[in-house]
């Protein structure tokens, strides 16, 4: 049995394996970042549709959420890769991954936004409208800024969940952080060092993110202080 130092060397340093980890980390971050941006856009639009007076828009939004939330993420990723986006030749896997995870995240973000908007007392809307502001002005200047503050914790949670979910990107042969660790495991016949190393990196990402959003939340809470 090799010493811990030797094992670490073999798994992380030798043959520039750390580059593989770094590449995986980069891909994981890129997918998660792209997907949260896309998901936030989709989620915002869906949330407004969900709260609209138009039954068709409400219905579309509801259907979207029901389907997305009812099907496993891995399966959605594979459906996008092998079915829906397959006809578009030469589309980079990264783009496919971002679309898949973004479309998925959008459903969850929509529900977060909807709950946030609905948590703002109706009196706020009435006060805005009674001053002569129209529906969109009231939404933009009064309801959304307050809702935004209210959703930070759950939104942060969605981002953290999303980072971890990207670990299934290996199913479409993307070299994300998890896949990189698995490749090293295969090459070195050492399982625990690469897997543990990637686990630590995921943990650092999610902890850092939680801290970042925690700071944001405290800063936004300024007006609540009594």
């Amino acid at each position: 049995m090799a010493s811990l130092g030797e094992q670490l060397y073999t798994c992380l340093i030798a043959k520039e394996r750390w580059l593989l980890i770094l590449e995986g980390l980069g891909n994981t971050l890129l997918i998660a970042l792209g997907a949260i941006i896309l998901g936030t856009l989709i989620g915002g639009i869906l949330a407004l549709m969900r709260l609209s007076n138009n039954w068709l828009l409400r219905g579309i939004s509801y259907l979207y959420i029901t389907i997305i939330r009812g099907v496993p993420m891995v399966l959605q990723l594979m459906i996008f890769y092998f079915v829906i986006l397959a006809p578009i030749k030469g589309m980079p896997k990264m783009v496919i991954a971002i679309i898949s995870f973004g479309v998925n995240s959008g459903a969850y973000v929509c529900e977060i936004f909807r709950a946030g908007i609905q948590s703002i007392p109706v009196g706020q809307t009435e006060a805005g409208r009674s001053l002569g502001l129209n529906k969109w002005q009231t939404l933009g200047y009064i309801v959304l800024p307050q809702a935004f503050k209210a959703v930070i914790p759950t939104y942060a949670n969605e981002f953290i969940v999303l980072i971890k979910e990207t670990a299934v990107a290996g199913y479409i042969a993307m070299r994300d952080l998890t896949k990189a660790a698995d490749l090293i495991r295969n090459a070195t016949f050492n399982a625990w060092i690469p897997l543990l190393a990637s686990a630590v990196i995921y943990l650092c990402l999610t902890l850092g993110l939680a801290k970042l959003f925690g700071t944001l939340e405290r800063r936004m809470a300024r007006s609540d202080r009594r």
Partner: protein, 240 residues
């Protein structure tokens, strides 16, 4: 100024407003009283269409507010509204609360709105609170700011929906005092309240609503000393 014709409001089969007809003249201070559930708040909220009436007409400055095609946002600029729960915007400072609507609606530029806000705050003795957030203020202060927020729009009429009902007793006075000042300056006011003292002192006309109908209306003197309707007599015997 406001002409209400046969106003009806139906909530899931129940007639909350059952044919209300009245005219509010410029400069009038109409105090609306009635038991809870009588429809008095619904009546007030119909006046600026926070509630959609199910029948009848409300004419204000040449437009029928009940007509879905009327420009309700423009009409509301001329109807200030004060709520029981104040409804200040908690994410904005006092100053921003007051200047938001006039600026965003293009009625004033930022400097004008700011000056207006300072004048209004000076008037209610809260100048030093301009840059604090509403959560740091007492209920009475919040409600007075809500009143001047509505005044910043230079409304032609002010609607008050139980403005003192959510206040601690010691803060009721300061809000009523401000409303009395407004009244004495000639503002047209419609006030739903349980403050009978205010009604006696300030109202030009008191309206008693029960069961979604105007049961009795009169000048405050006659209204309180010689109520005719038995339901009003009963109501007054309980609240006075």
């Amino acid at each position: 100024m406001i002409d209400v014709k046969n106003l009806e409001k139906n909530f899931g089969g129940a007639n909350v407003l059952d044919g209300i007809t009245t005219t509010i003249e410029k400069g009038e201070k109409v105090v609306v009283i009635g038991p809870s559930g009588s429809g008095k708040s619904t009546f007030l909220r119909c006046l600026n269409r926070l509630e959609e009436a199910t029948g009848g007409e409300i004419w204000f400055e040449g437009a029928n507010i009940c007509d879905p095609k009327c420009d309700i946002d423009r009409l509301r600029q001329k109807m200030g509204m004060v709520f029981q729960q104040f409804n200040l915007f908690p994410h904005l400072t006092v100053r921003q609360n007051i200047t938001l609507a006039p600026v965003k609606l293009g009625l004033m530029d930022a400097a004008q709105a700011n000056q207006k806000a300072e004048e209004l705050l000076a008037r209610i003795g809260l100048s030093e609170k301009a840059d604090t957030y509403p959560s740091r203020l007492s209920g009475g202060q919040q409600q007075r700011i809500a009143i001047v927020r509505a005044l910043a729009m230079n409304p032609d009429v002010m609607l008050f929906d139980e403005p003192t009902s959510a206040l601690d007793p010691e803060m009721v006075g300061e809000v009523l005092e401000l409303m009395k000042q407004l009244a004495s300056e000639g503002m047209t006011m419609v006030v739903v309240t349980h403050e009978m003292g205010f009604a006696k002192e300030v109202a030009t006309r008191v309206v008693f609503i029960d069961g979604g109908k105007i049961v009795e209306e009169n000048d405050p003197q006659t209204f309180f000393s010689h109520p005719e309707n038995p339901r009003l007599q009963d109501f007054l015997s309980k609240v006075l």
